[in-house]
Symmetry: C2
Subunit: 273 residues, 2 copies
């Protein structure tokens, strides 16, 4: 029987035989639909023995806890189900139902080894080399390497070029980024690239002003007196837009878009990647 949470906050125990990232992703997606202020998350990782599992279950007893788990070993799963039922702790099996369905469809038993999705393979090393690339080619640093890029991001200061490059690198794409500023010549290398590889980022000027103001406040010294003035911002955005049109590249307005959404937009328009 499930008890409604009324007097007390709910704690989610994430229990995993590996590092718990899959369960955490699902739990975050779910609790975002409720409002997170009343929900606390505790992670229990590398839970690969009955003893460790029993310890977690005993910590969950007599509290408002739900257990979300990813455990591949069947004997551990069975133990958790029984122990949780006995203690009246609600549980959510994050990968079990999908695992069962895939197993039936493939006519194969799963390997039942914890942490297999963290194994080092070619794809993994490529991801690391993409991160190296993104760092080397951040902020216009290595123009000679631009032609190696899968994506070259351009835009004015504080349009999230760097975090977007890093996110794309994590996804296994080589991303470079180049700042646009009226006082600095646009590198000739940009005109030599296929326009398809270029992505221009733009943003609502009032939002950019807030972001830049925040940036100035967080810095010890004042970078430039006019960095966050509306005049300066409009001048920069106009300049950038003109360059982007000249280059003929895709333009994305990142106002109120998360990095993940912007990256997704780029990748879904680039069928060659």
């Amino acid at each position: 029987m499930l008890n409604r949470v009324e007097d007390e906050d709910l704690t989610v125990f994430i229990v995993s035989d590996s590092i718990g990232e899959t369960a955490e992703t699902v739990v975050n997606a779910v609790i975002s639909q409720f409002g997170t202020d009343q929900i606390e998350i505790k992670k229990f990782t590398n839970i690969t023995s009955i003893a460790k599992l029993s310890e977690v279950v005993s910590r969950a007893k007599d509290r408002k806890v739900i257990i979300a788990y990813t455990i591949v070993l069947p004997e551990l799963c069975e133990h958790l189900k029984k122990a949780a039922k006995a203690a009246e702790i609600p549980i959510v099996d994050v990968i079990g139902p999908a695992m069962l369905k895939f197993s039936e469809l493939l006519g194969q038993k799963p390997k039942l080894e914890p942490g297999l999705n963290r194994q080092l393979d070619q794809e993994y090393f490529e991801r690391i080399s993409c991160i190296d690339y993104a760092i080397r080619c951040d902020d216009g640093k290595e123009l000679k390497k631009l032609e190696e890029a899968d994506v070259v991001i351009i835009g004015v200061s504080r349009t999230s070029k760097t975090p977007l490059s890093m996110y794309l690198a994590h996804q296994g794409y080589k991303a470079a980024n180049i700042p646009l500023m009226p006082e600095v010549d646009v590198p000739q290398e940009l005109y030599e690239l296929s326009a398809k590889k270029l992505v221009g980022l733009t943003i609502d000027p009032t939002v950019l002003q807030e972001i830049r103001q925040e940036r100035l406040n967080s810095m010890q010294f004042k970078k430039q007196a006019d960095y966050a003035t509306m005049d300066r911002i409009l001048k920069e955005l106009d300049f950038a837009e003109e360059i982007m049109k000249k280059l003929g590249c895709m333009i994305i307005n990142v106002t109120n878009k998360s990095i993940e959404e912007t990256a997704h937009k780029i990748l879904s328009e680039r069928s060659d990647l």
Copy 2:
């Protein structure tokens, strides 16, 4: 009824009303337990209408397809379940069962808005500022900013300091990294930091040799003639180990560890973070 896949490869359709990252994470965890060479993944994102959903289902017909979905709108979920059943397409609801259980426990209905976990909030902007920090403090670049760091990673070349810093930044931690080399003085700033913040990376010398050889091959020019020789590698690793011991920091052997695992190890030992 589920058909076993024998003659043909299985395709997983990931169907999401947002960008599909949650479903992709779960599907990757599941297929890692089977062997990915026979499974193809196709993503269908921003599926927020019955029309778009019907189009996806019709593309799945008469093929070996399983649909893994994250859809929060109940009418779309219902439509998908019915259409898939009629077409005999197996489906996996990635967040529905968890959503239902949380809803019961909280005594609340979910907000039913797609993409809520991608909303921009304070945490999000902190993550971006951590990525900025990690880039500025990559490879020993800004020693003056070291005291702001949550974690300072040290180690010889090619022990994955940079990707680890970026991963930690993505998780919302300020990570700096500093290379160790016998010919270069260890920055005084390291000795002024709390040893608790320092993480030394070490690695099996033969694995490091392979990684460095790979690195040399991928570079246009030879960086250093002895970069990948065993003598040089042993000398560097000995030197680094000595420094790490002097600093009294945590030492992690990253041989055959993924970045996620190393990061997890750091975070689980740092209860203050």
